[in-house]
Amino acid sequence: MQHVEEQLIKELQETESQAKAFEVLVNTYKERLYWHIRRIVLNHDDADDVLQNTFIKVYKGIGNFKGDSKLYSWLYRIATNESLTFLKQRQRKSGITDQEMQEQMLGALEADVYFDGDEIQLKLQKALTSLPEKQKLVFNMKYFQEMKYDEISQILETSVGGLKASYHLAVKKIEAYLKED
């Protein structure tokens, strides 16, 4: 696996093999990154936009990738930053508070044709918006994407112990929220 990844990075950094290698990279990671982004921005069109921007950033930055971290954690880090920046920019343009922004996103989610959630799933999203950013990220990565703590630790650059605490705290808060009438 490590060897395959190293080979892919090498091909991405060489002009003659770059196009083909980029296609392999996109096809390998598009679904995983999409769901990671979608759970941050909630709306499909926004997730599509951010996913494309993420791959463009990767394409332009692959020459500078030193291999200090694993390729997938580098990709996830870019996807996370792009998603959060996207939301911050939208908030700044609209001149609204973080709270108002979250409420708008939830309102839009109810009307989203690509959200088939029932009442409890909508309530889950409401519970998630009440969490601090990091707890929300850790919960989504662990609970829905079923990532290992080691992997999340490399992406978010946080200790495994800290992540475990964040995750369990998030679960407790969400369960308490869902039990409320």
Binding site: V26, W35, H44, Q52, I56, Q121, K148, Y149, L178
Partner: protein, 170 residues
Amino acid sequence: MKKNHKDKFKTPEGYFDSFNDRLLDKIAKEESIIPKSDGFSVPQDYFKDVHESVLDKLDQEEPKVIALKQYTKYLYVAASIAAVLLLVVTLVPTSQAVQFDDLASTEIERYFEDTEIGLTSYEIAQVVAFDGEEIENLEDDELEEAVILDYLDENTDTFDELNLDYEFEE
């Protein structure tokens, strides 16, 4: 990769190390009231076109980069011309030194307005030399009363500035 030497089966690296954690997480998930899925969906065949969409967006972005480079090239040319002009102005010696008479009176007035010179009107009078003729001209000029009143009206804000500190006789 960990190998079982008897039957040649393999498991992923670290599989047994993280087994307990994964088992506990799974049990917790089974018992939790948190839904297993979050209800998001995507348009049919969306993932098929992602690579194409990224390439299209990359193509759209390319002209911007070229335009920026061309603009930078013009900036370098403009900066070079400006630098040459600056050198010419500073290095070519001027034929005449600037004299006091060359200064416009408005420039001198502005200098005194803008600069705190720290001299009282008495000190200025001590320094500035008047010849007798100029003072006589001043004394001989008969200013009309209306002109004086207009001047005072325009140049004094309050009566206090007129130093009217004497008492009127009734």
